[in-house]
Symmetry: C2
């Protein structure tokens, strides 16, 4: 981690450096992924189970692909009771927050018989991907499943790779049960994504696939987009802390490190107007790193993608935050809500010194599945919106159509579409003949 | 067009047949598209202008890539005044409908200092693709541009391929001006999509690309997804008419044909409970086809993708409509609103005998950019939602964080993320030491 002056050149280098982490850079894996997808699409279970044997070393068949009730029970015995309690509490907060995102059907009518509206319908079925082994986070299960349940999706199924013994991580099972998953299929990687997109004898085709995964999973989701819907393609995690001279350097350092520990590609950036804060943060980062369990990951992440940038003034700092469009943005200034009004691009905005990012990761309620790698410029956090779709509603009476029907005929004829014109004029042909 | 009994086998054949039209089937063009994209990304204007010369036969340079004020003026002289009037009227209806889709930022607070919310921000810049020549529809310009303007997008630019003389179709220019496009760049095909996704010396990089195009454009949009956002990838147009014995066969026939004339891949399907209606519709279709200007297209479309299906009862008819998930659905029954409650999958739903589909194409106000080819199961009509993004808002006071901070630490430690735990506990360390 290094202290740099925030100038145009530094910003350009930083943005190019962060983009190196994008899954868009890994298209070389695409050939392998395409082969797996085509194989599962053509050969169903046979291909799915062969890849599970090859990649996960597990013997899975149509008879043991589903997690059983006994496995759930075992998981509840394995996970510590206080962790189960926290999962339950977090689930309540997440449900409450997402309930506020619900959108309703609406219509508008005019007394001449015009009715226009929008019908909201939940997706029928959703598949949630959950990574296996040490990359399995119970919090992530809650964040992906609960918005679908709040939206009213009829069937929410999960796929997750088994270990060599065909077992699923206990924390995943508990979180899945608490979130209300209907069934869990033991399958992972690109082959599981293909199974959800096209269906196999055992795994049903779904309408949408969500959830984090490695590069193979990300590329497979991109490949099946259009056949089914997907959530946005996530890159490595990142945080940007925007701080002035009033911020506590110890808190900033702890928050930067909580991001850096995610993986070696994670990015932690401080943009501050105070060079004193910058110096102290650097010192605190070194102190904390020495005592943290994931120090090797942290060091690599900070070396490659950690920045402390000193801005000449707060406007310059805000402009940089908007250009970087970070997944997580903490505002640690004397007037965080005023600064927030100027933020255009960020996945989640944390305001004030008691709103540290892990509060959002686990507990507060808003979704922790957020746009990464600059995509906060155009993507949104995962939400109930992702699990509904809309249909336009159009109903006109004869009284409403008659005065405008010639306008539509004019427009259709101008576009050379005479059958379109005919579809309108046929409704008034008797009248026309009477005139 | 043929009359068939609606049974499981027929439905399966129909669904497979319709899916043949999907842009997902044309991945063989992808190599060409990828080469064009990489070239424009690496070589900017130079590549863009070379492809414009190659494909559109036009000499475009940085000096004449933008449509000039003189060209707009000429367009207003070229387009018939009554067409300009209808464009203006339609624009008002489209704006009014989309204004009702606007979403607002919200927050919720608790007296202990918890503030949670969602900030809505319009995208900063959007690029609209408009096809050239005879595929240019002024109505499509309105439908793609106006929702972006209603959303509050700062900059809405357009790309459209020029003819050999470097000119743009007058109807496109008038519709663009009426919709409020900021600038029009003379560029088309995959090269124009690449220019919008990565920027060139002349064309700015945008946040999102929308608008219809040929297979090269569709594949290019798919390829740049993730670098920028895109609208859903559209396939050929389609209509499904759901009719009982009360429906007017002449109206049904005219409406089916208005869809069939779009292109040879368009699909027109009638599902009816009345074999009498089925017979009469077939007769009317033949009568109309003989006198319509686009009869060659219509014949091919109906031969390949036209169906008249007889259902045993209305429930069976509704189930088929939901499985087919048509772009446009007309309900011509004695109780269309009751039937509508059972419709899960459709882009736009037209109710009653005066709500023919061209009313929605041109005039009523709801968007005519709709999910095609079964994607109404998970995609929505183009809307104001497509031009905004959301940021979560999280602010906790010390009072709010303190009672739950140990829960978060427990959760973080259970996931093995000690730096996450530290970011919470550091806020209470003095207190902890005092205890």
């Amino acid at each position: 981690m290094k202290i740099l002056k925030l100038d145009t050149e530094t910003k350009k280098d930083l943005l190019n450096n962060l983009l190196k982490r994008s899954p868009n850079q890994y298209d070389t894996y695409m050939e392998t992924v395409s082969l797996i997808i085509e194989d599962v699409r053509a050969n169903g279970n046979h291909a799915l189970f062969a890849y599970t044997k090859q990649f996960d070393k597990a013997d899975i068949s149509k008879d043991n692909i589903l997690v059983t009730e006994a496995e759930y029970e075992e998981a509840y015995q394995t996970v510590a009771p206080e962790v189960i309690e926290v999962i339950k509490k977090a689930a309540i907060n997440i449900k409450n927050y997402h309930a506020k995102q619900k959108q309703y059907s609406w219509f508008d009518s005019e007394p001449n018989g015009v009715i226009l509206g929008q019908k909201v319908t939940p997706l029928s079925s959703v598949g949630v991907y959950v990574p296996g082994g040490k990359a399995a986070y119970p919090s992530s299960v809650l964040m992906n499943v609960l918005p679908a349940r709040v939206a009213g999706v009829k069937e929410v199924i999960m796929v997750t790779p088994p270990d060599r013994d065909g077992k699923i991580y206990a924390g995943t099972l508990v979180a899945a049960r608490e979130a209300g998953v209907d069934r869990i299929y033991k399958a992972g990687g690109a082959q599981a994504i293909a199974a959800l997109a096209f269906g196999t004898e055992s795994v049903p085709k779904v309408d949408k696939i969500v959830g984090p995964g490695n590069i193979y999973v990300a590329l497979a989701k991109k490949a099946v987009y259009g056949h089914v819907s997907i959530d946005s393609i996530a890159g490595p995690s990142e945080i940007l802390v925007l701080a002035d001279e009033t911020a506590n350097p110890r808190y900033i350092a702890a928050d930067l490190l909580s991001q850096a520990e995610h993986d070696e590609l994670a990015s932690a950036i401080l943009v501050t107007t105070s060079s004193e804060v910058a110096e102290q943060v650097l010192k605190e980062v070194e102190g904390f790193t020495a005592i943290l369990s994931r120090k090797e990951i942290i060091k690599k992440s900070l070396d490659n993608y950690g920045y402390i940038l000193i801005a000449s003034n707060i406007e310059e700092a805000i402009a940089a935050a908007n250009e970087i469009a970070s997944e997580h943005l903490e505002i640690l200034t004397k007037d965080p809500f005023q600064i927030m009004t100027k933020i255009e691009n960020a996945g989640a905005i944390f305001l004030g010194e008691y709103s540290s990012e892990p509060l959002g990761d686990y507990f507060a309620g808003p979704n922790h599945v957020l746009p990464t790698n600059g995509t906060a410029k155009f993507f949104s956090p995962l939400s109930v919106d992702d699990f509904i779709k809309k249909s336009s509603i159009i109903s006109y009476s004869k009284e409403a159509l008659e005065p405008i029907h010639k306008d539509i005929v004019t427009f259709a004829e101008a576009e050379g579409l005479t059958a379109h014109a005919n579809s309108i004029s046929v409704r008034f042909e008797e009248k026309g003949e009477e005139c």
